[in-house]
Amino acid sequence: MRIRFHLALVALVLACTIGAAGKDAATHYKTIEAKHFTQAEGVELDPTFGDYFYAELRQELKKQKLADEVIGEGETVDDADAAQSLVISGTITEYNKGSVVKSAIIGFGVGSRSLKMDANLQRRSNQQNLGVVHVHVRVDPRWKPAVMAKFAAHQLVKEVKDESKKSAE
């Protein structure tokens, strides 16, 4: 009885592992290129923010293992891999630096520093649009904008992962 139970348990674990591997394979890319995000008119962010966000985004893409390789901006890709390669570009559409006074007096998220961005996912070979991701991040106004870049990159990659899973289905 006990042996049967153990065999069933092993079979269940194997089935789950194979299923998960199959799901990952469907959304796995050969290369991902992240581009520097542009800033829409009226967005007043430090120029260093763009570089830091770009670095964070690449770091997060590496961490999440969405692709075999995360390449830099403007790097070449073999023609054979181009169909399985993704390019992420985007625009920072809105930035509100928030208010420390409002945050301290009212609280409950009032006066938060906020950032909105749109990211486009494109297949490298034929420029096919694989989806658009909208990200909205809110942090404490006392924190540096670079901290916001960290959160934004994390959320963006999570959304990209979900979007690529959806498009694979």
């Binding site: 260093t48 570089d51 830091y52 770009y54 670095a55 964070e56 690449r58 770091q59 390449i71 830099g72 901006e73 403007g74 790097e75 070449t76 540096k144 670079a146 901290v147 870049a149 960290k150």
Partner: protein
């Protein structure tokens, strides 16, 4: 760092590496905790890394006279940049002016590399993390340069005449 496949296989020569960071202490990476310094100047490190990569791909000329393309490197940033404070943000940025000495034409190729590493409490760990961070960002910048579309286009444009002459010449 492996170099991309170029249309022709020109021999490069690094003529000069110039520091344009406007940093009065280029070897000082971090002031805090008594300071962390590089063992050599950034220009020396960049030159050595580029020469090693080109040599490994058999694209380094023996001398300036025998080179098909001569590159002059301008280093704009090498070391740590301002980050979130929770980590080390390594950044290497340089531009290369690639020149064909025969025709006199030149093209600018930009390259940049970034890396993020964890902070630490002990100075020994901080030194290790900073070193890893800078090495990673240098590797990233070299890769961006050697495998970039800009270099590919520059080589194609600058060696257009050489490639045409090679194809036009009759086989012996």
């Amino acid at each position: 760092m492996p170099v991309q496949k170029l249309a022709t296989s020109p021999k490069f020569w690094i003529s000069d590496v110039i520091d344009r960071s406007a940093n009065p202490q280029p070897e000082l990476v971090m002031k805090a905790r008594g300071g962390i310094f590089l063992d050599r100047e950034p220009t020396v490190i960049v030159r050595q890394a580029l020469e090693q990569s080109l040599k490994a791909a058999n694209l380094l000329a023996a001398g300036e006279n025998s080179a098909d393309l001569v590159a002059k490197i301008y280093v704009f940033q090498f070391g740590l940049a301002q980050g979130s404070g929770f980590d080390f943000f390594g950044k290497v940025e340089f531009a290369a002016v690639v020149k064909n000495p025969k025709s006199g034409e030149s093209v600018e190729v930009k390259a940049g590399g970034t890396s993020i590493a964890k902070t630490a409490m002990r100075k020994k760990s901080i030194e290790k993390n900073v070193q890893d961070d800078i090495e990673e960002s240098l590797r990233d910048a070299l890769r961006n340069f050697l495998r970039g579309q800009q270099l590919k286009d520059a080589v194609r444009d600058l060696t257009k005449d050489t490639a045409a002459a090679t194809t036009a010449a009759p086989n012996p």
